[in-house]
């Protein structure tokens, strides 16, 4: 257990009595909450504590936050707390989820409830590809054996559908399942798809400002941050995009993810671009993995071409582009596809967009852009031809027919994972499966070569299958 996330084992708490499945308190099972998050009056709560359905634990002990596991001194602050009258310690790491304060307790709700056993929960009628089928079987067996499994599926493999058989199996057994993802957009996108595939199952989507607040469902789709509020709750935890921000470099989120799973549980990780750490564990056979090297439409991944443009940075610094890139763009515009241009910084994205706007219909977008969603939509609706973006569009978004250019691909923001993800934006549709991907650079970097090699390797694997 917890092989993948090399984190200290989360604290254990005394054995609690299972909340009966007909109890109204069942909806709080597996939660770890602050007092003001609990929708019960003091009397009710005290009774639950007496019956050992609820365990009360100190919120901050020996410089560690009981909710998020933060233990570095800069993650704690003090404030003059008018409630306790002291200079009170609180956790700054998880403060955006509501403040955890040393003078208040945390409450753990017993998790050992039986959920409904569904006979035939899945009404999805599509077919899985051979690759998806293979992964689906591995997922089922890891749920049966309560093991870890890493699913390494290329961009566009159709990873949601290949989860369906495993979810179906778990629902038949009356297990509780959580699909967690680092990004809110993904929760919003997955929820309706799962609701239509599992129409009779209690499914909730939980994220920072979701309408749903309770998070009591048998099948929960949540951001990884929401896992701070669960403990030993799920029989199956599926974490999507384990290599994505903010999950991949946040040990506190990993800690919370492993605590949210029951002691005996299946943990399934999905990624298109595992980090070095995970790859090493796969090689050493410390982590079982299954590959899905081909896309659902069966065509190979577009392999990026590397183009040397020595004057790139000096032109960029003047808000301009080398003429060779401009002519690539003008040639690209003669074709039918739209163009997705990746830039290394917000400034350079804006500069490039304003330069190109003299000749093309173009917009730029970045993470803090208030019009981000609108701009992405207008690109999707073919209202603009070129979208210049920072790395925020490296994953998740799918446009049916684009070519992808990366300007200054040697910049440090473009690591191997980012470049593989970016290349994965091209050729997504079965109607147009081969978009062009070009990395413009001032000198090859390891990241570029590794990304190229990784993509070629996957294509080779796909061929053999």
């Amino acid at each position: 257990m917890l092989h993948l996330f090399n984190v200290k084992s989360p604290h254990s708490h005394p054995q609690l009595s299972p909340i009966p499945s007909n109890s109204p308190y069942k909806q709080l099972s597996g939660r770890l909450l602050t007092r003001n998050e609990i929708p019960l009056d003091e009397n009710e709560l005290q009774q639950l504590i007496q019956h050992e359905y609820v365990y009360k634990l100190p919120s901050i002990t020996s410089n560690r936050c009981g909710r998020c596991g933060a233990d570095e001194s800069h993650l704690f602050g003090h404030f003059p707390h008018c409630v306790c009258g002291c200079s009170c310690c609180y956790c700054r790491n998880c403060v955006m989820m509501g403040r955890v304060t040393e003078c208040e307790s945390l409450y753990i709700f017993s998790s050992c409830t039986a959920f409904k056993k569904h006979e035939a929960p899945c009404n999805w009628e599509g077919n899985l590809t051979i690759g998806q089928q293979n992964a689906a079987e591995r997922i089922i067996s890891s749920i049966k054996r309560k093991e870890e499994l890493l699913v390494w599926a290329v961009c566009g493999a159709g990873k949601t559908e290949m989860l369906f058989p495993g979810i179906t199996y778990a629902l038949r057994q009356g297990l509780r399942i959580c699909i967690a993802t680092p990004r809110t957009d993904v929760v919003r996108e997955l929820l309706p798809r799962l609701q239509s595939a599992f129409a009779d199952v209690d499914i909730q989507g939980l994220y920072g400002d979701s309408e749903e607040k309770l998070g009591s469902a048998q099948l929960l789709i949540a951001t990884t941050h929401q896992l701070y509020r669960y403990t030993h709750a799920f029989d199956v935890v599926i974490i999507d995009e384990i290599d994505a921000f903010p999950f991949h470099n946040d040990k506190s989120l990993k800690w919370a993810a492993s605590r949210a799973a029951k002691k005996a549980s299946a943990q399934i990780y999905l990624t298109a671009t595992p980090r070095k750490e995970e790859k090493k564990r796969i090689r050493k056979k410390q982590l079982s993995a299954v590959f899905i090297p081909s896309r659902f439409h069966g065509h190979p991944l577009p392999v990026p071409k590397l183009k040397l443009t020595p004057t790139l940075r000096s032109r960029l610094s003047k808000g301009a582009l080398p003429s060779s890139i401009l002519s690539h763009i003008s040639n690209q515009r003669k074709g039918k596809r739209q163009l997705l241009l990746f830039a290394s910084t917000i400034q350079s994205a804006e500069n490039i967009a304003s330069l190109l706007s003299l000749h093309y219909s173009v917009k730029s977008v970045h993470a803090e852009d208030p019009e981000r969603a609108d701009k992405i939509n207008s690109f999707r609706n073919l209202e603009i031809d070129i979208l210049v973006t920072t790395t925020i569009l490296e994953r998740g978004v799918t446009f049916p027919s684009v070519d992808v250019f990366v300007i200054d691909a040697g910049h440090q923001v473009f690591d191997e994972a980012a470049l593989v993800q970016i290349s994965g934006r091209a050729g997504r549709s079965p109607d147009d499966p081969d978009g062009r991907v070009i990395f413009f650079h001032i000198g090859k970097t390891e990241a570029m070569l590794e990304a190229q090699a990784a993509i070629e390797k996957m294509n080779l694997k796909a061929k053999k299958q």
């Binding site: 003090h78 404030f79 609180y90 403060v95």
Partner: protein
Amino acid sequence: MRCIICFSPVLPSVDWTTFLTLQKPVKVCLQCSDKLSGIEEPGCPQCGRADGAEVCYDCERWERSEYAGVLTKNVAVFSYNEFAKELVARWKYRGDFTLIEAFTEAAQKKYKNHFHSMEADLAAIPLSKERLWERGFNQSEALITQLGASPLSFFKRKGSEKQSKKGRMERIGGENPFELIGKPERPVILVDDIYTTGMTVRHLGRLLCEAGCPEVYSFTLFR
């Protein structure tokens, strides 16, 4: 050192000038301090709004209303941009008290520039009891403490506060939610986190003026 805002490591620049002048430790990293935009002067001489040196439209309207003359001027430290909104939400509503340290140095400087030689009392804006218990601290008192002064309580809240839920016009027409409980003898500087419409400080300013306060100023972190 870690950046107070984003926790990324802030490397102390060790060269001879910093070594000799014994600079204070840097609390905010470059990326974060770039996003916090200090209010350029001269702005509106009355409220500190940063887009022009003339009295702005809002203030002109105030001076034509029944609140004319109750507030001599507002001084603000930063403009209330998107980043500032995020920080205020995290500081005040989520309760990340420590963030105040990111503003302290600039606030002290600005305060000194404008009120240096003034003999004045610093007054905190009261919160309702429920609100105070929810947040755990009063942001306006916290600010006054950071300025090195001790907050005086001149006011009390009458009912509950639901100000932010109402529109601007409603608020301007609204009844004064405060009452005076102290006696102002010298000029008073009202200290708050944000100056948005200016209603709150004028409600309080009017009470002070009616009680004979010689002059009322306000000092806010954001405008």
